[in-house]
Amino acid sequence: MALLEVKNLHVSVEDEDIEILKGVDLTLDTGEVHAIMGPNGSGKSTLAAVLAGREEYVVTQGEILYDGEDLLELEAEERAEKGVFLAFQYPVELPGVSMTNFLREAVNAVREARGEEELGAGDFLKLVRERAKLVDLSADLTKRSVNEGFSGGEKKRNEIFQLAMLEPRLAILDETDSGLDIDALRQVSDGVNKLRSDDRGFLVITHYQRLLDYIVPDHVHVMVDGRVVRSGDKNLAVQLEEKGYEWVREEAAAAA
């Protein structure tokens, strides 16, 4: 049984008749890294949001199994407790919400769900320092309000830092590489690589093959207009970079 099985997933926006995902199939197991590429507006973030439990999307057909369990039955926080983590494409700034307080609560909620003991203040801070190092995030940033006044790169690193803190089984990275300079890109990818493990799966959404030079994927999927039109190994990303999306788009049209 795979960690994640997405079967014929159709998704629309609440109170609008637009279908965004038009039958997505995807199977991902622990220990694997899958990359999703695709042009703007093809539905990549929508897939990520549906996996994380956003309520504004309505699943009209198909199913999502997580560890064999119906994921769509669960609230966003229940998914987090069971090990689903989404690194946001646009991390939200929350002025006045202390990073430390929020994260300690989140870590302990997830730990409790896993049947682990609550982390005391001292152990928590130790873990913060250790995991912040993983992505070269200054521990000072963790003393501020969530993402408030963070630079673009700091926000993205903060997402990976939280990933490291929460130790999910399924980590979804939505364009974590976008807008990063080369140093930050390396820091983020190094962090992700250190977090790869046999009992964790990654779904990495990106526009650029260059990220996949750092985070080498086991599988690459191309999403166009709400469907996965082509899957392959890491070489698919290279081909895409050379030939552009028109190539898969034409192929998909020819097949239809």
Partner: protein, 449 residues
């Protein structure tokens, strides 16, 4: 001699006849300057009458329906007994302060624990101050809270009996806060009219915390007037916690006047009450004054809270900072009308005003009206009002990291209120308020679950 107001007569006539009956009572006779205001005040009240919502200033707050009830007017000097344990229940934990307790607007020496004050500092009843410090009272009493256009101030001035008096002499710092615990105790519906006077002379420093409690389920209407004077280079840090019962209403008028290089800060946190109207007027009458006005209102049920503020910049080179925040749940209503007035010769004024509200329910309403009237040209003024819901994007972010929806909403509300809480510079009070806020926010979501 408690007088019950006969509701068959119009509200105004009831007060006029109560005045006739009580004339010669109260502070009358003890202090000439206080009593000299009484006649003029009742005459002015007779002309103005009880405010109704036909007046622009009372448009959203129909106080007449609260005033028009059959209250007892306690006019004798006797105050009801209060158990020390009832007092203990409301005290702020770990607050090391000069504690002064008032019961129905009168200072209660038995329950107070004022302790040792620096030389020359006075914390007493206004009644005693009228007798012991007539010069100070005469110099300041009735000088700042003008009753010409304010019927409720006229009414208070006509019936004035007692209240809290604080005096800080020149150059003296009162290190511990002065902590006023205002209690209202009554079996019957009751109306009380406390009158407070705070005088901080030049270079004086003081912190005054006032917590307003009711120890009764009866309906209470409190019509408070408070005058504050801060002399040159003085600093008065003032806090009001409105935590009365849901059957309590009040009109509270604060008039502050401060001079060159002085700072006056006031922070009003309103957590309960049926109808609450706070009138705050600050007049920084000197150069390099700093006036800070903060307020937080957390509405629930049918609460109605109206904050009216006026900063009257009559002098150049001053700064005023104003931030009022509201959270409205259930069918609560909020009103904010903040006025900043910059007079023609008041150049180089920096005046900031902001009013922010979160409306959590469809039945709740916020009416806000910021007003800047600027007659000088070299000034920096800004004002803004926002009203909206909690940021759902932020809530989803927190939930996606494992926080329950309720916890996510509570954290977001706490964050919203945080900058008002951060303005509380007394640690024990800040902790106390943080705790009360957390409880209130949790209660918002317990009921709907």
């Amino acid at each position: 001699m408690p007088t019950t107001l006969d509701t068959s007569a119009p509200a105004k006539d009831r007060f006029l006849s109560a005045f006739e009956m009580s004339n010669g009572q109260a502070l009358n006779g003890k202090n000439a300057s206080i009593s000299s205001h009484r006649e003029a005040a009742i005459q002015r009240f007779a002309e103005l009458g009880v405010p109704t919502n036909k007046l622009e200033a009372w448009k959203y707050t129909d106080i007449s329906k609260i005033v028009d009830r059959e209250y007892t007017l306690p006019l004798s000097m006797n105050v009801p007994d209060v158990d020390a344990s009832d007092l203990d229940d409301v005290l702020i934990e770990d607050l090391d302060a000069h504690r002064v307790v008032t019961v129905n607007g009168r200072v209660h020496n038995g329950l107070s624990d004022i302790g040792t004050l620096p030389d020359g500092v006075v914390v007493s009843s206004l009644a005693d101050a009228g007798a012991n410090h007539p010069d100070i009272v005469e110099a300041h009493y009735g000088k700042y809270a003008d009753f010409e256009d304010e019927a409720m101030t006229a009414l208070n001035t006509a019936f004035v009996q007692d209240g809290l008096f604080v005096y800080v002499p020149s150059g003296t710092a009162v290190e511990k806060p002065i902590y006023a615990v205002h209690l209202t105790v009554s079996d019957a519906d009751v109306m009380i009219q406390p009158r407070h006077l705070f005088v901080v002379e030049d270079g004086g420093i003081a912190t005054i915390i006032e917590m307003q409690h009711t120890l009764t389920d009866a309906r209470v209407f409190t019509n408070t007037v408070r005058e504050a004077y801060v002399g040159a280079r003085g600093n008065l840090d003032h806090y009001i916690g409105q935590v009365e019962s849901d059957a309590s209403s009040q009109v509270q008028t604060t008039a502050a006047y401060h001079e060159d290089n002085s700072v006056f800060s006031t922070n009003t946190i309103t957590l309960s009450g049926e109808m609450v109207r706070n009138n705050l007027t600050i007049t920084p009458d000197g150069e390099f004054c700093e006036s800070n006005l903060y307020g937080l209102y957390l509405g629930k049920d049918q609460m109605h809270v109206d904050n009216q503020t006026l900063v009257d910049h009559v002098h150049a080179d001053c700064v005023s900072n104003e931030l009022y925040k509201n959270v409205l749940n259930d069918a609560s209503k909020g009103v904010f009308n903040g006025k900043v007035f910059v007079r023609p010769d008041s150049q180089r004024i920096n005046a900031y005003q902001s009013n922010k509200s979160i409306v959590l329910s469809n039945e709740a309403n916020m009416y806000t009206k910021p007003e800047l009237e600027i007659y000088a040209d070299d000034v920096q003024c800004s004002h803004g009002a926002t009203s909206g819901q909690l940021d759902e994007e932020g809530i989803f972010y927190l939930r996606s990291r494992g926080l329950s929806e309720k916890r996510a909403r509570i954290l977001m509300l706490q964050a919203f209120a945080q900058d008002i809480v951060d303005e509380i510079r007394v640690d024990a009070l800040r902790e106390h308020m943080t705790h009360r806020l957390r409880e209130r926010f949790a209660s918002y979501f317990d009921r709907s679950e």
